[in-house]
């Protein structure tokens, strides 16, 4: 698969990566040691990566969150969850592949995991509708959450969607109603819920699996009331103003932490999650284990009170 790049600097970074690979394979053939040269290139590479990532504009972060090689929910499930039992179907209409649900273990902890899945290959992307869930996806998630509640399993949701599917069928089957019902039910589900934004946190479509007791976000993920493109089209009357809209919306992990909406930013490897998916999975896993340990010590009544308070206190207004 061709590697798509985010910026010009990333092009230079890719060139260095290719040179390192070339030198490594040359050494394998002629057994000449190029270690010093490779090491020096690696140092340059790291420096450039750090520079690139220290200068990212909010819209660059949006593009990293959408990077075609970024690890997806299914990757986290595959590498992080042991003994995974996938559960399909909403028992009402169909099985939405844009939302994966199943039982599994994170470390020693049994959980229900729910993830929005975008798909990697073209075929898979189409099957997953590019991570834009239909009402049946939200209803499937809710059904499995009720199961988790009944059997006292914590719920972990991995958020990665550009938004809920905006099409005729989704409207016919009550997209707004499905999301509203999930938010309503999740606000009082009697089991701990952990929400993690791993890529795109697209508006109501993200919130439909996004209510809980702990809210963390990967370093280069974003979470927004509307896509920068959509916001630019409405307020600037021009989708080309998306970079300005992204800045104005303050949608990065840092912004969310500053606003007190995210509890924690989960660090990504140098060059972002797609440069080292396994390391990213490991970091995410250790955070989930930490959150599960913390949440299981809290009695459920107190947890629900905390959850109510968490959302009840969000908002900025003046009162005379």
């Amino acid at each position: 698969m061709p590697e798509k790049t985010v910026t010009k600097l990333e092009n230079s970074i890719l060139e260095i990566e290719h040179r390192i690979e070339d030198l490594q394979s040359a050494s394998l053939k002629d057994h000449i040691d190029r270690g010093a040269e490779i090491q020096s290139l690696k140092t340059t590479w790291e420096g450039m990566q750090r520079k690139l990532f220290s200068e990212l504009a909010p819209y660059d972060i949006v593009k990293i969150a959408r990077h075609p090689l970024r690890p997806l929910a299914a990757d986290y499930v595959n590498f992080m969850i042991e003994d995974f039992v996938e559960l399909h179907g909403d028992k009402r209409f169909g099985d939405d592949k844009a939302i994966i649900c199943g039982l599994g273990k994170v470390g020693h902890e049994k959980v229900l995991i729910i993830g929005q899945q975008k798909g990697k290959s073209t075929k898979e992307r189409i099957a997953c509708n590019f991570g834009m869930p239909n009402p049946e996806g939200y209803r499937k998630a809710l059904q499995k959450m009720k199961l988790a509640e009944k059997f006292h399993l914590p719920v972990v949701t991995l958020i990665d969607t550009p938004g809920a599917n905006p099409d005729i069928g989704a409207e016919e089957r009550g997209q707004a109603h499905a999301i509203a019902e999930n938010i309503y039910e999740m606000s009082q589900l009697k089991t701990p819920i952990i929400n993690i934004v791993i890529g795109e946190g697209g508006s109501g479509g993200a919130l439909g699996i996004g209510i809980g007791d702990k809210f963390a976000i990967l370093e280069y993920a974003y979470y927004s009331v509307i896509s920068p493109e959509g916001c630019a089209a409405i307020l600037w009357k021009n989708g080309e103003n998306a970079p300005e809209a992204a800045k104005a919306l303050q949608l990065t992990a840092k912004d969310l932490l500053r606003f007190g909406i995210a509890d924690e930013i989960i660090q990504e490897p140098i060059g972002a999650a797609h440069k080292d998916p396994r390391a990213t999975v490991c970091t995410l896993k250790s955070h989930i284990v930490k959150y599960l340990e913390e949440l299981k010590t809290i009695p459920i009544d107190k947890l629900l009170e905390r959850r109510y308070h968490r959302y009840r206190t969000i908002g900025k207004y003046e009162e005379e």
């Binding site: 989704a170 707004a176 606000s187 009331v225 109510y308 009840r312 969000i314 908002g315 900025k316």
Partner: protein, 270 residues
């Protein structure tokens, strides 16, 4: 936030153009007939203050938390700043925000009522709208009286308050859930237009959901859907009648009968 179809401002004068039958109708007749076209039954959009008069007993409304006004948490600026936009909307509508809430009576029965106004930044939900709905639901829980929300929002969540607006969906939902689980009756009335984050939260979480005839109701706005699927939308798509047919409404009630029907429901669901 979603797109919605542009509403033409009513021309001043004795006559008004009806968006339903495109005919000219006598303004006074429309006003006296609860802002409904006498020719085609088209329901004109009305201000929240006028709606209160149609729904509640005379002089029964006591507004609550009227002095909550918007803040600008993001220092948001598009082509104008958010505070500039807010004050322009305040001057245009005479409202402080996109919602009025309070206590009132429907045929003698006490209720808590909230009305969003599509005239104010498209009736979108920011922190003020979210806070007032949450307080209203909490008050209804405390007083054990029914809750009625009338929604009119082409905007859904308000973009200018960014993620704070998005989280109002969670806040209102949590307060509504507590109210309903405590045994309270919640009636949601959907008016033209009801879209986006408002529909994907409190407006869709009622015991009874009612819509006015032909109101535009949905999640994604029709323009967004059209741009996504790249073909024309079917006739009647996302209307109240479409929702009724697909099972998402309890009933469609014309404006003239709304108070009477609410009163009948209140009598049964005590």
């Amino acid at each position: 936030m979603v797109f919605f179809r542009k509403k033409k401002d009513m021309p001043n004068g004795l006559w008004v153009r009806c968006d339903g039958c495109k005919g000219l109708v006598y303004k006074k007749t429309v006003e006296e007939g609860m802002h409904v076209c006498p020719e085609c039954n088209y329901h004109f959009r009305i201000f929240s203050r006028d709606r209160l008069k149609l729904l509640l007993d005379e002089n029964s409304f006591e507004e609550m938390w009227a002095n909550i006004t918007p803040h600008d948490p993001l220092n948001f600026r598009d082509r104008v700043t958010y505070p500039e936009r807010v004050s322009a909307e305040q001057q245009k509508t005479g409202l402080k925000e996109a919602i009025i809430v309070g206590k009132g009576k429907v045929c003698g029965r006490e209720v808590m009522v909230g009305i969003t106004d599509p005239a104010f930044i498209m009736g979108s939900m920011g922190s003020v709208v979210g806070e007032k709905i949450a307080r209203l639901a909490e008050k209804a829980t405390e007083l054990k009286v029914p809750l009625i929300m009338v929604s009119g929002s082409g905007g859904g969540a308000r973009m200018q308050e960014g993620v704070f607006s998005l989280m109002q969906m969670a806040k209102t939902s949590a307060a509504i859930a507590r109210f309903r689980e405590s045994g309270g009756l919640y009636i949601s009335i959907l008016t033209d237009p009801s879209l986006g984050g408002v529909m994907a939260s409190f407006a869709s979480q009622a015991d009874i959901t009612i819509a006015e005839p032909k109101a535009l109701i949905g999640f994604a706005g029709p323009r967004v859907i059209q741009e996504t699927i790249k073909r024309a939308l079917p006739k009647g798509f996302q209307t109240a009648e479409f929702l009724l047919e697909h099972g998402f409404l309890d009933m469609i009630v014309p404006r003239q009968d709304m108070k009477k029907e609410i009163s009948r429901l209140l009598n049964y669901l005590k």
